[in-house]
Every structure is written in C-alpha cells, then in structure tokens.
Amino acid sequence: SQQGEEDPQALSIQEGENATMNCSYKTSINNLQWYRQNSGRGLVHLILIRSNEREKHSGRLRVTLDTSKKSSSLLITASRAADTASYFCATVTEYGNKLVFGAGTILRVKS
C-alpha cells in the first residue's frame, strides 16, 4: 500500500506560473524524495531532503519538509511546458532502503 497522499491529484497552470504540490506521509522517515515521470519515460530523481532539513533548493525547485506534520511540499517556479509530467513524493524510513511512493500529482503546464 502507498505511504501517503499527494494533493492536488491534478494541476493545470499557464507557463510562467508557479506550481505547488503537497505530500503527506505516515511513518518516521530518514529522507523524502521527489521524482518526475514523463509519459513514456522512467522516473527521474529531482531532489532529496533529509529528516533533519527543513528546506532545500535546486534550480527552479524548492522543497520543504515538516516532520511534525509529516508533510512536504514541492514548488516549481516559472513553470515551462516541459515541466508537464507526473510528480511523486517517496519516503525512505529509518529502517529500510525501499522507496514508498504516494499516488502522485499530474501537472499540466499550458503554453
């Protein structure tokens, strides 16, 4: 079964706008990761945030983590049509190596 939930399930925005996706999880974690999946392509790792970190940036991506609320958010700034994809959060627990994925958010960026 999946670790948690992401919202929204789907998001449609105009090119240039910011996109925010949220993820909630259930158990204690070692780290939380975000992945992108384009149609017909495999999953691509975007960013990893450890349980002792609160915020992390990578290019146009900003990730926050609130371990007290067991939640994370992914912000994509100045979105582009090429950002159209499904975005998944995945957690790694303190005791295991496997990724436990959420159901994902489908992002559509209209040009």
Binding site: S1, Q2, N30, N31, Q33, Y35, R41, G42, L43, V44, H45, L48, F88, A90, V92, G96, N97, K98, L99, V100, F101, G102, A103, G104
Partner: protein, 114 residues
C-alpha cells in the same frame, strides 16, 4: 554513462504463461530494486537486493513472483502462471550505495496479461 536498462520494454502474455523481465543496473551500483506500477498509481515496492543478496522481498504479491541477482549485477524478475491482475509496468532501479540515497530508474517493462 549508461543508465538502467530493462528488457523487454513491452510484453504481452496469455494468462497462465510464465514471463521473465530483465534489469541491467548502472555498473557498480550495489543496490537493486523492483517496483510495480499500476495505471494511474505510484510505484509499489516488490523486492530489494544488496549485491547478490535478496534482503527484502516483502512486497512480492504472491509466490508466483520470484527475483534473482545471482552475480550481483543483472537481475531477473520472473512471474509464473501470469494472471490479469499482474498487468502493470515493472520498474527496476539501482542505487550506488547500500542505504538511503536516490535511486536511478529504468524505463520499465509494460506487461499486459490477456
């Protein structure tokens, strides 16, 4: 360099047939994972290898599913007596170290059981 490769990319099987899915991880990666992704869902963990040792197979849905990585490199996921509910994309991922790091995914094998 080369990423994770999987073969075949597409497989159609009749119900009851056995199938074998292959994964070539990134050279030198210690950890190898198999995931199953149903349509519209996130991937779900099947099994994990550290070198040739299968350390976690808690996600395998039934004893019809079997995975191996005999020399600590290439891995094969075998499904015996396939059922329609086995239809999904099977993803393989590898990781450089033993624990906690990002995983590199292959393109997946789309299995359709008729």
């Amino acid at each position: 360099g080369a990423g994770v490769s999987q073969s075949p990319r597409y497989k159609v099987a009749k119900r009851g047939q056995d199938v074998a899915l292959r994964c070539d991880p990134i050279s030198g990666h210690v950890s190898l994972f198999w995931y199953q992704q149903a349509l519209g869902q996130g991937p779900e963990f099947l099994t994990y290898f550290q070198n040739e040792a299968q350390l976690d197979k808690s996600g395998l849905p039934s004893d019809r599913f079997f995975a191996e990585r005999p020399e600590g490199s290439v891995s094969t996921l075998k499904i015996q007596r396939t059922q329609q509910e086995d239809s999904a994309v099977y993803l393989c991922a590898s990781s450089q170290t033993r624990t906690y790091n990002e995983q590199f995914f292959g393109p997946g094998t789309r299995l359709t059981v008729l």
